[in-house]
Symmetry: C2
Amino acid sequence: MPLPSRLYLIVDPLDTGRDPLTLAQAMLAGGARLLQLRLKHETETRRFLAHAAAIREVTAAAGATFVINDRADIAAAVRADGVHLGQDDLPIEAARRLLGPQALIGLSTHDEHQLDVAAHTSATYLSLGPIFSTTSKANPDPVVGIDRLATARQMVGRPLVAIGGITAATAASTLATGADAIAVISEIVRAPDVERATAELLESIA
Amino acid sequence: MPLPSRLYLIVDPLDTGRDPLTLAQAMLAGGARLLQLRLKHETETRRFLAHAAAIREVTAAAGATFVINDRADIAAAVRADGVHLGQDDLPIEAARRLLGPQALIGLSTHDEHQLDVAAHTSATYLSLGPIFSTTSKANPDPVVGIDRLATARQMVGRPLVAIGGITAATAASTLATGADAIAVISEIVRAPDVERATAELLESIA
């Protein structure tokens, strides 16, 4: 199953204090059609659920695909299109049992070994990163680099999402190196005008 | 579906610093056959999952029933028997869709209105509390009292679990008032000898 868009925006307020729904609406207004909600520090299911339900509504209205980070239970509850899992999250097969064969299930990888292992799962797509250095994570994995993205492209038959430090300046070359989509957090979430930054990023890869 | 035991022990270390698996093993050694893992402050799915998997193993070996608090995704991943949900957690029907018709799904209620609403869900059992004052929660709901447990018993056709401040001194009378099971945290988790406290509590309701 191909990804529905070459731009994968992650709704993670980071330290901006911005509201997830407001971020999502600006991304959609800017043309994004593939969003992930990522609330790493939200311990209250009720609050996570409320954000997810609100964003499910606006993504559905926009015909956009909506994925939840980590919480397969919340993805199921709001009928999101899927879940994105890290190496330490729920096993892919557990999420697949929960969400069914049609669900978009993504798995983060950070090196060739993890890509190898991921090949034996039912993940719909794999992400690889950080391609460049990133400010979105407090303790990021080592930088993968664009050369190893090219190698990864040779190894991976399913959709491959590049993530980590990608900007409008590197988006097109990252896609040209073989990524099916680029995932972006900081560049958009920290932008003064999220809608405009999204539209410009889309233009840079059009 | 009747509950498998009249004693429902909740594996929540509270502020004791005790290890969840060690607590669960002592409870099982003391004779408990219905356990719930409750880790309200665990934000890392990986760690929650590891605790849950370890306790699933020992409960299965003991023939005990094992329920996870809040996280239906983790319940599914470790093949727990069910999930216990609070008023602010996942909707019951979302958890039912995830876990299937055989899953034990519990719902916390704190007053008659919530019991009324709960009657229209597919929850397997309802809990009501706090029956007495409790030290297990930082901001507990108002005390329900034993008289209103008797009233609740008249309202509720499905299994009813009394929770909140129940000790060996009040366990038998709480059951006699109409609860199908008593759920206990502090009295056991804070006991100097968890296995012995469990055995004594079981004896008090034998």
